[in-house]
């Protein structure tokens, strides 16, 4: 009788501990340990820099303005800030043509934001010639190499970056490169290290780290882990389009179409990226034709999404659409030989063989 009572008391104690440790809604995989803060005042910073430049245009101030415009581009998703950043960086280089790594890197960054990865690498190399261990140049270069699918080069650059400065952002970048190389275990290790050394002050980066980690978990079928990470990412940055889109993928994977549709709709509203319209078509069969047509139109207008357009055309499956998808995938594979491009190319080749009489 007594032992029964002791056992019951032990179970009750363990249950209370479990509730106390895990029941506060915190993410058990990668909790964000810092208070959630508002963004820094980029508007005020830009106004102050513009005022100073109007009085006396200095190369370094223009480079700083360029960086502030790029931050604004990231926050708003508006392309005009990239144009302003480029203009400020070019003016900075006219005034200060040498020892102006800030302006060169701002241009490299702007090039990357418009997916001109080759141009971005060329600009990074100009900085690295003079400063071979410049962390900013190394991180931009590794990202661009990843974008081009040059995975051996990307991992070498990412290793050099982590050796130079093993901070959370750099470890997260190497994790993504390793994940792209199929080195899942090593990628997970880097994600965990990135979390361990995470610092306050970059909530966007913290949310991004969790979203990319969730993407890897989702690809490996670890849905609960992905769900947990995405919830935390969206707690840190509630309107992060990447996390919203992945939330849609997760819900679609679970067969919860309404939730998936809602998440993709939020991601589209937050980003304006027509890729999310196309993904909505999969979650909302009743409106699929309208959504696909709108996504296709937007992709053709922007010209920025050849691969996504190819996949959309493959979904349509008509002989003409499949032929165009193959041409797009072939053209893209000449500049970006990453896994995504090659997979789309293979799908397009298979689809062409299927429709050929």
């Amino acid at each position: 009788m007594k032992s029964w009572m002791w056992n019951a008391a032990a179970v009750a104690l363990l249950a209370a501990l479990a509730v106390a440790l895990g029941g506060d809604g915190q993410c058990p995989v990668a909790p964000y340990r810092y208070p959630l803060t508002q963004r820094t005042g980029t508007d005020d910073e830009i106004a102050a820099l513009e005022e100073r430049i109007a009085r006396s245009p200095e190369g370094l101030d223009l480079a700083a303005l360029s960086r502030a415009c790029l931050r604004q581009a990231r926050q708003t998703g508006k392309r005009r800030w990239i144009d302003q950043a480029e203009a400020a960086a070019r003016r900075s280089l006219e005034i200060l043509p040498v020892s102006n790594a800030g302006a060169l890197l701002a241009l490299a960054h702007a090039a990357q934001m418009t997916h001109d990865f080759a141009g971005s690498i060329a600009l990074c190399d100009r900085v690295l010639e003079a400063r071979p261990r410049d962390a900013g140049a190394l991180s931009l270069k590794a990202t661009a190499q990843l974008g081009l699918g040059e995975l051996d080069d990307a991992i070498r650059t990412a290793d050099a970056l982590v050796d130079r400065l093993p901070i959370s952002e750099h470890l997260a970048l190497r994790a993504v490169v390793r994940s792209a190389r199929g080195e899942e275990r090593e990628a997970l290790l880097d994600f965990r290290k990135a979390l361990a050394v995470e610092e306050p002050g970059d909530p966007e980066g913290s949310a991004w780290l969790r979203a990319m980690w969730a993407r890897q978990a989702l690809r490996r079928g670890r849905r609960n882990e992905a769900d947990d990470l995405l919830r935390e990412a969206l707690r840190i940055r509630p309107f992060l389009p990447l996390a919203l889109g992945l939330q849609g993928d997760l819900e679609l994977d679970r067969g919860r179409l309404d939730e998936a549709d809602g998440a993709y709709a939020d991601a589209y509203r937050a980003s304006g990226d027509p890729v999310f319209l196309a993904r909505r078509a999969r979650a909302n069969p009743a409106a699929a034709d309208e959504l696909r047509a709108a996504a296709e139109k937007a992709m053709r207008e922007s010209g920025d999404h050849p691969l996504a357009l190819a996949r959309l055309l493959l979904d349509r499956g008509t002989p003409g659409a499949v032929k165009e998808a193959l041409a797009l995938a072939e053209s893209e594979s000449r500049v970006r030989r990453n896994a995504e491009t090659l997979e789309t190319l293979a799908q397009a080749q298979a689809a062409v063989r299927k429709v050929r009489p």
């Binding site: 508002q38 581009a73 952002e169 997260a172 009743a286 409106a287 937007a298 922007s302």
Partner: protein
């Protein structure tokens, strides 16, 4: 650095994207809009006391101007429009430029609303290619843009309900036909 990484997974777009959900009841259509804080901030000065946050009291003051804009730029043929002042957005910081803001309009027609003819040119004064995604009854979706600002024949009836009504009518007719046959009556008796 993170911004550079973000570029890998998402392109930046200059396009305004807004959405709406349309509910029709009799002669009235209720349209619940969702906009980004960024887009609304370009329409009117929202933060009247310049403290970085748009409080509900400030929303209340700017809502008439926003409703007027919505009434001009989102029109349903044959309807007069008015804003719903009861739905006041919560306090929203201007820094959260992607934060969704919900506003509601009522469109009232003199007759029943069976099919909607909608004209939408929201944010066409902005740069890029603004788009508006309207969701109607039964999950129907329409996407408006510069080249397609008007959609005619947006059905106001819920398809599922129409099917239910049609199905019920067909069932009643079928039952009546079966019961009217002499053999059926004898069997029923």
């Amino acid at each position: 650095m993170t911004a550079a990484l973000t570029a890998l997974t998402l392109l930046l777009h200059g396009d305004s994207v807004s959405s709406s959900r349309i509910e029709v009841s009799g002669r009235e259509a209720r349209v619940t809009f969702t906009f980004s804080m960024e887009d609304l901030a370009e329409l009117a000065r929202l933060d009247l006391d310049r403290d970085g946050t748009v409080e509900p009291e400030e929303w209340t003051q700017v809502l008439p101007a926003l409703f007027s804009y919505l009434g001009d730029r989102f029109r349903i043929d044959g309807c007069r429009s008015e804003g719903d002042p009861l739905l006041v957005p919560p306090a929203t910081t201007l820094k959260d430029r992607r934060a969704p803001v919900t506003l509601r309009m009522r469109y009232v027609s003199a007759g029943p609303l069976d099919r909607l003819r909608i004209r939408c040119d929201l944010f066409h004064e902005h740069e890029g290619a603004p788009r508006h995604v309207a969701e109607g009854p039964g999950g129907r979706v329409m996407v408006f843009d510069r080249e397609r600002p008007e959609i005619d024949g947006f059905s106001a009836a819920k398809p599922s309900r129409a099917w239910m009504v049609g199905g019920s009518v067909a069932a009643v007719i079928l039952a009546a036909v079966l019961l009217s046959r002499p053999g059926s009556r004898a069997a029923a008796a």
